[in-house]
């Protein structure tokens, strides 16, 4: 399935546009005399990396919704479309799928970090009550997951699946696991980057001393040595970021069912089409013979971007047993084998003139990827956030005997922002400048990394709005609320994230005879609110009432292609396609209505389910559709190319107020003010929920979360929700959100950019900067546990 050396994700990202055989050239610029091309290429940023994608040029261009657009439903605080299903318990998640005769699988996982299976006997498990089948590597075809064969007999990390049992009930399957007779020959392991890079380290993976093939990944502009020579002040720091786990409440899991050669898989996934192509390739099936369904899902956060181990195992076992099979991870499996944000150590050097202009930025980062993953660069944000002529970063990605890294909400940027934004505060203190003032002085209008303009950038507005709401200038007065033991501190950090989305994305809008509309698009709602905001866009563009529009997502058989819900791409990718499909349907509707209203189709307008003509006559959409009988109106929309010669990004700044108990080392975050520029906000309530969620995950990264390993044994020590601490309600500060909210109509014709990932990026450094402000001592290692605070205080 996926190829090795961290390229697995890169391959998935081109799913749907990938060519076999001779590759037609979509890149060459058409001559002026050429007829307009239907298919061409465009640039799309996916999870921090820019890719060239083929795009179908839309048949017409909707008029961009700029700030003057008269919108009634887009921008409204509409209730979440699926809230009723969720508060009544009716929402069916993958873990809730129950099929007639369904069996339950349980996975046996290796209890050693490296080694090989010496003996494996499944017969005792097969003799257990209710057990229907049991499989190991020898029983299945070669399928690659994380770059290695599924159920491999060579163990590369603790928690790796080695065998599976399937039984009538989950309890019987679990009980049978204990009956499997298995022994291992352990081998020396390397679970940290330091272990993997040490002389004589065991070969974890690959041919390059446990580094990825192209490591270190270096990027440079200008001359950092020259920039440092020009600097009046230089700060140098080392920052340590932990490995953290997605910990979605719904674990990875799938249910598979065969009908003849037709495979249906229900999977908790952020990408139904990526899952479909992974399954088809791994199981040697035609794409048309695989259907992937994802209705509701209990969180993803980046860890669920293709077919899981569970989906392959469920499909294989369902074929062997002739019964539907459910294969859901238990929590320990989820916390050890489904992805993480990789641990990283950064050495950061900043140089600046006395008046606070950056002259040099250097960051060298070592990242412990685990047994697989992709090169999500902590270095990248160092090139993007500030004006500086001389920047150099080197990212060294290291294979280790731990679970594979996967995307986790703004992968790379979260790790990079911690080092950069904390170092900026260290620099501000050296210069005697305010932290916000230093950031303003180094504001950059253009994308200096790619040397082009942004479609829109309102970071200065974020600084201003956030500082006003927070009372940044008056913060010294609030400092007195603290005392000798409970110290108050204030911090700020900012962020950038490429959240422009792009093609391909498709949508269909079908008008029913009763005037209701079905919006069909192969996207996913992870809990982000996709169903709701797409319904708002469709209703607005169609002129329908919001309650007449239903959005159907998450089923490869019912919906046209749309890419994974990742990279803060869903809204800016899919909303334009939905809008165009709705306008296409509206144009057809107007042709039908024109005769009824005695007016030209082009002169009609529609709002809230009513079509109006200049002559004052009005007809309801439902009435037009009823007159059409069973004639169906189907609108088709595609996501067009991104604007040439521009970068598209979201921006933001967060301000934190903390109280630190110097005796216990406990940090309480009292308040966070977030100010974000993600272009037009389609639904302020849902957008605020996104921001709050990102901040709370960032709070976990700052204060609590860390996968703890026993380095000698190579074993994870806290794969439970009790020992791996995510924030609880009592940890949460007051959170206030401001949106700049101006439409970025150059980015796409809805004016909206992505918001899912940006809010997590500045939270941890804002908190750390506030803690440093409170204590006069810098915190350079996450999470900032009481023990680490006390250690920092005692120097």
């Amino acid at each position: 399935m996926t190829s090795g050396h961290g390229d697995g994700r890169a391959k998935r990202e081109t799913t749907g546009t990938q060519m076999r055989g001779a590759v037609p050239d979509f890149d060459s610029a058409p001559a002026a005399s050429d007829p307009p091309r239907r298919f061409r290429s465009t640039r799309v940023e996916v999870e921090g990396r820019e890719e060239v994608k083929v795009v179908e040029v839309p048949a017409f261009d909707p008029v961009p919704w700029d700030d003057d657009a008269d919108l009634a439903i887009v921008g409204r605080r509409a209730e979440r479309a699926d809230a009723l299903e969720k508060v009544t318990g009716r929402a069916r998640y993958t873990t809730d799928v129950q099929r007639p005769g369904m069996l339950h699988a349980a996975i046996l996982r290796a209890p050693v970090p490296r080694g090989r299976l010496a003996t494996l006997d499944l017969l005792p498990a097969l003799a257990m009550p209710g057990v229907r089948d049991a499989i190991a590597r020898a029983d299945i075809p070669a399928i690659e997951v994380n770059g290695f064969p599924l159920l491999d007999g060579v163990v590369r990390h603790a928690g790796q699946p080695v065998a599976v049992v399937v039984a009538d009930t989950p309890g019987q399957a679990r009980a049978a696991l204990a009956a499997v007779q298995v022994t291992y020959v352990p081998e020396p392991h390397a679970v940290t980057a330091a272990q993997a890079l040490a002389d004589g380290a065991p070969r974890v993976r690959g041919e390059h001393g446990n580094r990825t093939r192209r490591a270190p990944r270096a990027a440079r502009r200008g001359d950092v040595a020259k920039g440092l020579a020009e600097a009046d002040v230089v700060v140098e720091r080392e920052y340590r970021m932990p490995c953290v786990l997605h910990t979605a409440l719904e674990p990875h899991g799938a249910v598979a069912e065969w009908t003849g050669d037709q495979l249906t898989v229900w999977e908790s996934t952020q990408g139904i089409f990526a899952t479909r192509s992974d399954l088809a390739e791994g199981l040697s099936l035609a794409l048309t013979n695989v259907r992937v369904v994802k209705d509701y899902m209990g969180g993803g956060f980046g860890a669920k971007n293709g077919a899981s181990t569970n989906a392959f195992l469920a499909a294989l076992l369902a074929r062997r047993t002739g019964r539907p099979v459910s294969c859901i991870n238990d929590r320990e499996g989820e916390q050890t084998d489904t992805g993480n944000r990789a641990a990283a150590v950064s050495r950061v050097t900043l140089g600046a003139t006395r008046d606070g202009r950056l002259t040099a930025i250097r960051a060298e980062t070592t990242i412990a990827l685990g047994i697989d993953g992709w090169e999500a660069s902590p270095g990248k944000i160092y090139h993007q956030l500030y004006a500086c002529p001389n920047v150099e970063t080197r990212d060294t990605f290291v294979w280790t005997n731990t679970g594979a890294m996967s995307s986790f909400r703004a992968p790379g940027h979260v790790e990079g922002a911690f080092g950069l934004e904390c170092a900026m505060d260290a620099l501000a203190r050296e210069l005697g400048l305010g932290p916000l003032e230093l950031r303003r002085r180094n504001h950059v209008e253009r994308d200096e990394e790619k040397r082009r303009d942004y479609t829109g950038k309102r970071l200065l507005d974020c600084y201003r709005l956030g500082a006003e709401r927070f009372g940044w200038e008056g913060r010294d007065a609030r400092r007195e609320a603290g005392d000798a033991r409970l110290r108050r501190g204030f911090g700020v950090a900012s962020q950038i994230w490429g959240a422009g989305g792009g093609p391909p994305a498709y949508a269909l809008v079908r008008l029913n005879p009763d005037g209701t509309a079905d919006v069909l698009t192969g996207s996913q709602d992870l809990g982000t609110g996709t169903r709701t905001v797409l319904a708002q866009v469709a209703a607005e563009a169609l002129g329908a009432r919001l309650d007449a529009v239903r959005v159907v997502l998450g089923d490869t058989e019912r919906t046209p292609y749309t890419a994974n819900s990742w990279g803060s791409m869903t809204v800016p990718s899919v909303a334009p396609a939905v809008r165009m499909a709705a306008e296409d349907a509206r144009a057809q509707l107007f042709e039908a209505a024109a005769g009824l209203l005695d007016a030209e189709p082009g002169a009609l307008s529609a709002r809230e389910g009513e079509i109006s003509a200049p002559n004052g006559r009005v007809v309801r959409i439902a009435e037009v559709m009823a007159r059409l009988g069973e004639v169906m109106i189907v609108g088709r929309g595609t996501r067009g190319p991104n604007p040439d010669g521009h970068s598209i990004a979201s921006f933001g700044a967060q301000f934190a107020e903390v109280e630190v108990d110097v005796e216990t080392g406990r940090i309480r975050v009292l308040r966070i003010v977030a100010a974000h520029d993600s272009g037009r906000i389609l639904n302020p309530t849902l957008a605020e929920s996104q921001v709050e969620g990102g901040i709370i995950q960032g709070l976990g990264y700052a204060l609590f979360e860390e996968r703890v390993l026993d380095e000698r044994l190579g074993m994870p020590l806290n794969p439970t929700m009790h020992d791996y601490k995510i924030p609880v309600v009592g940890d949460v500060p007051r959170i206030e959100t401001e949106f700049v909210g101006a439409a970025d109509a150059l980015a796409n014709h809805t004016g909206a950019k992505g918001l899912g990932e940006p809010p997590i990026i500045p939270t941890a450094p804002a908190i750390a900067n506030a803690v440093a402000d409170a204590l006069g001592v810098e915190m350079t290692e996450l999470p900032m546990t009481p023990w680490r605070v006390r250690s920092a205080l005692s120097g």
Binding site: V87, G89, Q98, M721
Partner: protein, 154 residues
């Protein structure tokens, strides 16, 4: 064994080791309560036992004979929502929704004990229910709103 769930009696053929959660989900097809940690660490399986909150993943079904079990499916319907359900919708106190049934039942138990909790009491009372999407600020608001509504029309 005979269980009373949402005021309905059910005769269930389950082994003595079966948890209440597995009986609710796998045999009675009441899938609102979720299995997340299986160890009483997250609250996603919270149900009410005679009005008291219980982790269904750590409760033996056989021990519930003679008790009233209440699940999310039993406190309100789409046509007639419980005030807490209404408040969770109105305040957008949910994102993915996976923890929501447990959150609502924990809140219901809290309000039964303490009809007008202040914010600190809500934070204390709801701290056993994890949410990874980070809906906590809105959960607090929803519980406050529901408490106010329930106090007005008990």
């Amino acid at each position: 064994m005979r269980l009373t769930v949402n005021r309905q009696p059910h005769d269930v053929d389950a082994p003595p080791s079966a948890t209440l959660l597995s009986v609710l989900r796998d045999r009675l097809h009441l899938t609102g309560a979720k299995l997340v940690c299986g160890r009483g660490e997250c609250g996603a399986c919270t149900v009410l036992l005679d009005g008291e909150p219980a982790y269904a993943c750590l409760t033996l079904a056989a021990a519930c004979e003679g008790s009233e079990v209440t699940t999310i499916e039993g406190i309100g319907t789409a046509e007639s929502l419980h005030p807490l359900q209404r408040a969770f919708v109105a305040e957008d106190a949910l994102q993915c929704g996976y923890c929501t049934p447990g959150q609502i039942l924990a809140a219901l138990a809290l309000l039964a004990r303490e009809p007008r909790p202040d914010e600190a009491a809500i934070r204390r009372g709801m701290s056993g229910n994890l949410c990874r999407c980070g809906t906590y600020p809105k959960i607090v608001r929803a519980v406050q709103a529901a408490a106010a509504e329930m106090a007005e029309s008990p």
